[in-house]
């Protein structure tokens, strides 16, 4: 009897220990698998976002090209023939000259608009001269009698990956648009700063500010802020909203610079 008890106890104990070890092992394995799966999903989502953004840029470029090459050309041709028409009209029917003049100026305006739109769609300056110049141009364009946009940046800007450039530029564009559209700001400062760990872009306005929580809760809100977040998601960036109702907003964007110099060099060789 005693032997049975001893053996039974031993068997039970071994079983208990076995179960414990099994549970611990199995659980850890599952957790690891879950982590891998999550990582994979995250990567997939990022890839999808990146692809979407790229497609967007692509489409813009195509539209800009079509606009410039086709409509722009057609408009130029139209202007030429209008000039001819104007000359004939001047001889035969001086009364219609005013009308021709008016049409011509409308046409000129349209041509200018098409050029502007096609240029805005694709940030040419960014591609040719880099982020700083593009932001300068942006500030200059946005400044007018009511708002004053200023760019301040640290002297030594490293070359960035093209994608990083574009992301920062688009974000700055949206933030400035917001500051002009919603904040009634008089002064807007774009601050571009190079840190050892990455790039810090801040857009600071002196407008009326807003309540971030309320905006985030609003289901009908615009796409601007959401787009900023998804753009940053792709490049592992961060956005910090230092905002409050009744005072100017400060919005900081932080991205890691992925040391593109090496990659660019490799590509160039």
């Amino acid at each position: 009897m005693k032997l049975y008890i001893a053996v039974g106890t031993a068997v039970l104990l071994v079983m208990a220990i076995f179960i414990i070890v099994f549970v611990a092992y199995y659980q850890q394995k599952q957790i690891r698998q879950q982590l891998i799966l999550k990582e994979w999903q995250e990567k997939y989502r990022k890839g999808l976002l990146a692809a979407t953004l790229q497609a967007q840029e692509h489409e813009r470029r195509r539209i800009a090209q079509d606009l410039h090459d086709e409509i722009g050309t057609m408009l130029s041709v139209t202007k030429l023939s209008l000039n001819q028409l104007g000359r004939t009209v001047e001889h035969n029917d001086p009364g219609s000259t005013v009308l021709v003049q008016k049409t011509r100026s409308l046409l000129d305006e349209t041509i200018a608009n098409v050029r502007r739109i096609s240029r805005d769609l694709v940030p040419t300056t960014l591609e040719r001269f880099g982020l700083v110049s593009a932001l300068e141009e942006l500030a200059e364009k946005a400044s007018n009698g009511e708002v004053h946009v200023e760019l301040s940046c640290s002297d030594k800007m490293p070359t960035l990956l093209p994608q990083l450039d574009l992301t920062l530029f688009r974000i700055a564009q949206e933030l400035i648009n917001n500051a002009i559209k919603h904040a009634n700001a008089e002064n807007i400062i774009i601050d571009l700063h190079c840190q050892p760990t990455g790039i810090l872009l801040s857009v600071i306005d002196d407008g009326r500010g807003f309540d971030l929580d309320e905006i985030l809760k609003d289901k009908k809100r615009g796409l601007g802020l959401r787009n900023i977040e998804s753009r940053l998601n792709v490049i592992d960036g961060h956005v910090t909203f230092d905002v409050e109702e009744g005072r100017g907003s400060r919005i900081h964007i932080q991205v890691k610079n992925l040391k593109p110099e090496v990659e660019v060099e490799v590509e160039a060789v």
Partner: protein
């Protein structure tokens, strides 16, 4: 001795304990009170075996509440509850002032094992715990299962093992086994209280 240590750590870390661990601590304090009475009775050569039975009731209640608070699903809770009810019925039937209620204690072990298995099942299906090895309830369950498995047969066949004091030393052998496993279990509880503190810190840091 280990019981005291476990209570001590439990109290030190009381702030960090979550609900189930707090219940376990309360259970320990009751157990401690009972063992004090036990020592007292033994010193005066009173009969103290009924206290083993009472202690079992206290332990079981503590466990039932602890697992009740930890296992959140309705099915698990009803299992915990029914286990406890079965135990109480057996306990009432088997309780005696002069003998160790072997069946009741055996059933307690079985139900403790059941609880621990239930908890393992819960862990494996829920998958919410990131690092199991520092999760205190896991260790509590592991300790409980070892403790219960080690002492189950001793109590189920109490007539043979702890029944007669006269037989050549077997009572002392078995009571030592029981004490060893209890001490082991208290030790595990002690560790788990500390772990709970650490876990608390880790999760606290994560949420900040």
């Amino acid at each position: 001795m280990f019981l005291l240590l476990a209570i001590g750590t439990g109290l030190v870390n009381y702030f960090f304990l979550d609900k189930p661990n707090r219940w376990l601590l309360r259970m320990l304090i009751f157990s401690f009170a009972i063992s004090l009475i036990q020592i007292h009775d033994a010193a005066y050569r009173h009969n103290n075996t009924y206290l083993y039975n009472l202690n079992s009731l206290v332990e079981m209640s503590g466990f039932a509440v602890a697992y009740w608070t930890e296992l959140k699903s309705r099915r698990n809770r009803s299992l915990v509850l029914s286990g406890f009810v079965i135990y109480v019925l057996v306990f009432l039937y088997d309780f005696s002032w002069t003998n160790i209620a072997g069946i009741a204690l055996g059933v307690q072990r079985i139900i403790m094992i059941m609880y621990a298995l239930l908890y393992f099942h819960y862990i494996l299906t829920k998958m919410q715990i990131q690092n199991l090895l520092i999760h205190s309830m896991f260790w509590v369950s592991a300790g409980a299962i070892v403790h219960a498995a080690g002492t189950l047969f001793v109590f189920l066949f109490v007539k043979v093992t702890l029944g007669d004091l006269s037989s050549n030393g077997s009572y002392y052998l078995y009571i030592t086994i029981v004490r060893t496993f209890s001490a082991f279990f208290y030790l595990v509880l002690l560790v788990s209280f500390w772990l709970r503190r650490r876990e608390f810190r880790v999760t606290g840091r994560l949420t900040v």
